[in-house]
Symmetry: C2
């Protein structure tokens, strides 16, 4: 696939981390890479120009959301997704499998496809794997995803096995349905938290020969050690010469853990979502700008940070904007968090190339205070319960 | 006052319109000029860079809002308002008189000053004209305003006379309280909708010799013909060599009517507020992008418009963002509306200089469909009742 040439440039001698690059018809994507989430054809609060300033080479959009609003046909009529959202760099569209199985009420799944109601207006829809490919061909992203069935965390082995096997059959149908030659189709490995299912899923999908492989169905409320156990089980059976994409992971510490296990691509709404709650990344951890300690802080959010927010405004100004619920607050915080993550991924790539990723990771994690596991899981559960269409 | 040199460059032969310029220590301000409203030290949704791209030479901030949050002392500690909001062009701070008399509950006014409760937390405050000057000297805007008592529309002649006379005494005290020599102090003419009070107020304040004169207490729900009658009564008695500032006026048609009557400076939250409701200015009137007619509009909001929004996105994309309540929507709409107004004021100045303002105004008003008087007044009343601290 001429438009999707992936190569591994350097592998870490001590971990499975790798530096690579992906050539797309919308520019080069250095890997490992983090994709900001723009489900509704907009990375919340930001313009494409700001994303470029931050250095973002690829964003994620969501087929489920765009199918419901504004509708695939409208985006096609507007010249495709790149033109619609005025983004001339790379785009990956998720198939919407995860959204259908988590956001949409009243689902009925069969081998043929899935029936669900829109979470927006309750209208009923039936979608097949073939249609999901058709939709993504109309949208025109550089990377498209096969439709998967994504069970929630806590389902039985039998239920997860069934979903995993259906995901395999759907992946094959997606592969056959593909007409455009200029989009890379990735399959999604499922298998929940069951090692044997993960292995079967990775092996089976790898045997079908996709342009890339995603690890789905994780970061759904399971303990973090289990997340990364499953990543290890999966990556071990994926081809070395194809990108590996861990879906829904995006905290600084998890990005490092994922990279160490050989993952090349990540996406998550976390950096942008927590930004809008005032939670900002620093090299020593995440802190909340709404804390009264920042009321009179003359310095920037992170001293030495080169993002627009830190170059231009004091932490006190950001604190003021959040306290007044000013819309500019959410945007300045988003710019900072995405810049932080982008900067982190750039450094990660540099140290892989220089051969010292392991010590960089250890040093980072030693000084970065992560949210405690228990708090993290309860936050995650709350969010999974409360979230709606927004991301 | 070296930092506040105002000159009239050209006067319209057929109307009272005038083109001028004001030199401030934060840049040259071509007049007539419209000031975007940034009550809380932020023009809602925009960065200072975007305001500069639009060509905005001066913004308005509000002493009442900034006194309550984050507090004058904090902004002073942060190096003043320009630095706090990262805006190196001109700033005018309103005294907060209008806000105290419209937003804050439980007011008690005496000659000494005014007691009110914060609309945010109910805390009680007492403020004198001298303190308002002190606050504005700490904030450090280029133009500062005297404290005025602003009666609501519908008050009796007696009540308005009392408020107007108190405004005069306060203006004089503000003048005496001024310590900094680098800020221009403007007085505010009151007098409600009573011609004789307007005339007395203009004459009296003019006799005290201020750097500029504002026309306050209008655009508060009175019929538009009355607004402009009062503007005429007032302007007739103001000195020719000083800027005249009509407060709270900002629709395209009203700007032209104000300019035609010799006004140099305007401010209003209208262009930014209606933008956030999806109402966008075009040369044929204001329309709402949320209308389903725009769902499939491939062209920009205004064809030929050179603002970032119109250069970059289709009307269909904007419609989509509004439909999903995406935060980017409010910002793109704000950019368009402020660009439109800035562009209009630029054109107005050009045609005054070229000697054909009158025909420009007639042509503009002939093709610009204004909101009908009755609808306009009921919208205004609704807004006056419902608004809180936001602008």
């Amino acid at each position: 696939m001429a438009n999707h040439s992936f190569s591994v440039i350097q592998t870490c001698p001590q971990t499975q981390a790798r530096a690579g690059e992906l050539i797309t018809s919308h520019g080069l994507v250095p890997m490992p890479v983090f994709l900001p989430v723009g489900s509704q054809a907009t990375v919340k609060t930001l313009t494409p120009d700001e994303l470029k300033d931050i250095g973002v080479p690829m964003v994620l959009a969501n087929t489920y959301h765009l199918y419901l609003r504004p509708g695939i046909a409208i985006i096609e009529k507007m010249g495709g997704l790149h033109k619609f959202m005025a983004w001339d760099k790379a785009i990956l569209t998720d198939s919407g499998g995860y959204q259908i199985f988590s956001l949409a009420p009243l689902r009925r799944v069969s081998d043929e496809g899935v029936t669900f109601r829109s979470h927006i207006d309750g209208s009923q829809h039936f979608i097949t794997p073939e249609q999901i490919i058709e939709f993504q061909e109309s949208l025109g992203a550089d990377i498209i995803m096969a439709l998967d069935e994504c069970p929630t965390y806590g389902e039985s082995l039998e239920k997860v096995r069934e979903a995993t096997e259906r995901t395999h059959r759907w992946a094959e149908r997606c592969q056959k349905a593909q007409k455009r030659g200029d989009q890379a189709l990735y399959a999604i490995v499922q298998g929940g938290v069951f090692p044997q299912l993960r292995r079967q899923s990775a092996e089976h999908l790898a045997s079908l020969g996709f342009a890339g492989y995603a690890i789905g169905g994780l970061s759904l409320g399971e303990p973090k050690s289990q997340t990364f156990d499953m990543v290890e089980e999966t990556v071990a059976l994926l081809p070395e010469d194809k990108p590996r994409y861990l879906m829904g992971v995006g905290s600084p510490e998890d990005l490092l853990e994922g990279v160490a296990r050989g993952v090349d691509v990540f996406d998550s709404a976390l950096p942008t979502r927590v930004a809008r709650n005032g939670a900002l990344f620093t090299w020593s951890g995440r802190f909340n700008i709404q804390n009264s300690a920042y009321r009179q802080s003359e310095g920037p959010v992170v001293s030495g940070c080169e993002c627009y927010t830190c170059r231009t405004f004091s932490a006190a100004y950001l604190h003021h904007l959040f306290s007044r619920e000013e819309l500019l607050a959410y945007r300045l915080a988003t710019i900072h968090n995405l810049s932080f993550i982008q900067n982190l991924m750039q450094k990660v790539r540099d140290v892989i190339l220089a051969g010292n990723f392991r010590s960089f990771k250890d040093n980072f994690l030693a000084s970065y205070k992560t949210t405690e596991e228990e708090i993290r899981l309860s936050q995650k559960q709350r969010w999974l319960k409360s979230r709606h269409s927004r991301e």
